[in-house]
């Protein structure tokens, strides 16, 4: 079966631009997570969806970051007015939800802000 897919795999943008990163979870997985991973570090939690709703967005660094999951499947992470410090690999994961908690990760989108 298909795993978690993320598009694009690489995104280069200029400071101040708007970007959208897409995540297609495993079919039937109700939970979806976004993480950000900087070089040499572990993933940093951004936001968690259960179905269509953002159940926990405590990891979003500021109001330039926003994520949606309108139909409870595909999710889009949106970053406004990008800054050089936003450069990182953005990872998406999905799971069957509680109590399983077993996250399956996509390959990530490498975002570079020039």
């Amino acid at each position: 079966g298909a795993g978690v897919s993320q598009t694009p795999s690489n995104k280069v943008t200029e400071k101040g631009k708007y970007v959208e990163l897409r995540c297609d979870p495993i079919s039937g997985h109700t939970a979806l997570y976004w993480y950000r991973q900087s070089l040499g570090q572990g993933p940093e939690f951004l936001i968690y969806f259960q179905g269509t709703g953002a159940a926990d967005d405590s990891g979003l660094p500021n109001d330039r970051f926003f994520a949606v999951r309108p139909e409870g499947s595909v999710s889009t992470l949106k970053i406004q007015r990008t800054e050089r410090g936003d450069s990182a690999v953005y990872l998406c994961a999905s799971s069957r939800g509680l109590p399983y908690n077993e996250q399956f990760f996509g390959p990530g989108t490498r975002l570079t802000v020039l």
């Binding site: 570090q41 993933p43 939690f45 908690n101 390959p107």
Partner: protein
């Protein structure tokens, strides 16, 4: 803020040797997961431990969750070159939240 520390940061060993890597925190977690990540890919789940003192074995890998659910260890017996990668631990908060906390990882190199 819950933090996870991992040690060592880097480890280079010969094929056939045994090794242990550690994941420590001052916070209690409801569960702890271990992942392996290879360059250009997302982390892949190896195991989830839930009960304090729990030991799980996955072929040559042995995982232990500390009695107080604040720490964990991963022991590899007779390491192989295919074990090379970044080993990450991740904790689920004690309130069963889903804002997982990841450690910075241990980068393991197994040399032939």
């Amino acid at each position: 803020t819950q933090l996870l520390e991992q040690s060592p940061q880097f480890l280079s060993i010969q094929e056939g040797e045994n090794l242990t890597v550690y994941c420590n925190s001052s916070s209690v977690f409801s569960s702890l997961q271990w992942y392996r990540q290879e360059p250009g890919e997302g982390p892949v789940l190896l195991v989830t431990v839930v009960t304090g003192g729990e030991v799980k074995k996955l072929k040559r890998l042995t995982f232990q969750f500390g009695d107080a659910r604040k720490d964990s260890s991963l022991h590899i017996t007779a390491a192989q070159t295919g074990d090379t990668g970044l080993y990450l631990c991740a904790g689920a908060p004690d309130n069963y939240g889903q804002n997982f906390v990841f450690g910075p990882g241990t980068r393991l190199s197994v040399l032939p």
